[in-house]
Amino acid sequence: MTTSKPSSTTSSPDGAPRRGLLDGAAVTVRLAGLSLLRGRRGVGLVLLCAAPLAWPAMELFEPGAGAKGGVGFVDLLTKSYFPVINLIVALFVGCGAIGEEVDGKTLPYLLTRPVPRSALLIGRWLSSLVAAGALLAASYVALYVATVAPMGAEALRIDLPILGWALVAMALSLVAYCALFLLLSVVVKWPLLVGLALVFVWEHFAVDLPGSVPRWSLLHHVYTLLARLSGDDGYVAIARPYGLELLPASDSLQVLAWTTVIALALALRRFSRKSFLV
């Protein structure tokens, strides 16, 4: 937890402090700030997010060896960010949302305050979205500038929608992934291990399997949204493995939304009934 600019708070008629679901969630987000990016986890994730910048940098030393332009930007997004980096950032930040208070044994201070547990959970989920979103958005912008700027200022303006849609898809994917990993952190004993298995054994490979198997992975629906929203051929090719029919954007959006709702509902149910031994 960290501190930031405080808000006004409401009091009950008798003057005693009280927070409801929305108020409690909002103050949790404000107080948490970007604290999920603190310490070794933060340093590791920043380095991970910065790693793809090496490709456009290679262009400076050896033209043709690295990535360049809008095509290079999309290529790097589909090879590194969407299938790997986004998921790892969401995994560590999502699992850490509640997990860092459990591991740090600071959860009792939060659980014994007049704030509903549901507000704490929702607030920490929103905090994880803010932290992961800020880190990834900064990385996308840096990567966009690094790959497209060498093509000239006009290219930066023309290719801007590619960056915009990538940011939208990233944000939508984080909503679902952070909820899923938050659920893991309150349900299983080793959430990071289970999460890594989910990321690398299922999400990473399912999108390339034949038949309708890819539709059981969230990543497939993220690519479908990207393909539908941007119309970029690179995304369309990934969203249609083995010629699989491209789903409507609304279908993929619903999958992400329902995944989020179900994961949060299960996490809330578990968290509100769980006895903590910290």
Binding site: T2, A16, P17, Y109, L111, R113, P114, V115, F276, L277
Partner: protein
Amino acid sequence: MSDATAAVVEPAAAEAPVVQLERVSHWYGPVIGLNDVSLEFRPGVTGLLGPNGAGKSTLMRLMTGQMEASQGSVRVFGASPFARPEVFRRLGHSPEHEQLWDHLSGRDHLFALLHYGGFAARDARERTARTLARVGLEAAAAKKVGAYSKGMRQRLRIAQAIAHDPELVVLDEPLNGLDPVGRREMIDLVRELGASGRSVVVSGHVLHEVERMTRRIALIHRGRVLAEGTIDEIRRALDQRPHHVRVAADDPRGLARLLLEEPGVLSVRVAADEALFEVKEPGHFFDRLARIAADGFIAVKEYESTDDNLQAIFDYLVA
């Protein structure tokens, strides 16, 4: 009893209990943490005593709504405290472990918890300053908690438990890590909280320190309550069991001979100038001893019951 302890405000038996535990049991997998515990805590200070692993922290976690009992009923202010925000408005808890948010300053730490708990920013700031001064952390308020000593961390933990003026304060081993001066200050603070009408439940295993905070105790061992009440009440309840009395006299051997004839005197150990008696009916024994002293057969210099302090009671009950 020391002079300091004499001033402790005892919980009034007539007042309604703030915490009620009825036949509470709790298991950690196959291990039992609490076994059929029934207890009540009223306004004033109550000491929860027991060795490490006795079940004190489990009891406190149940009282502070962090865990739900496997069996039985826990009620705080008449309601189940588990995940119940309205109970937490009136409850302050200082956990046993010393973990805090090390990256924050003491001031920010306390402010964050008060603001999170519902206090408007201005009110939270005022309370933060007031409480840090009360626990002696005013000078270190801007320092990062990670750089705090063990004693300072303990003070901050207690500060966050009392900053919102709760009616019930639950302090798990509040004297751990404090130096002698800090311990004395903390004991005074606990007594002051009890004297102000709050209910304070304080755990510990340094018996004489708990005795300085309160005469009302609950003894816990292996998940069970061995005894509950004032130290004197517990001692009286134990009168049917052997009681140890040390008598210093000019002829301890002759005194032992005379008293061994009395019913209820179970054994005696004689040293150079004193005798240690094991008696079953202390009242009768003291009457007889007084008569012997009055008759002047043997000069009795002094006598004391070695079972009246907390350590003796505890040793006796867990033996």
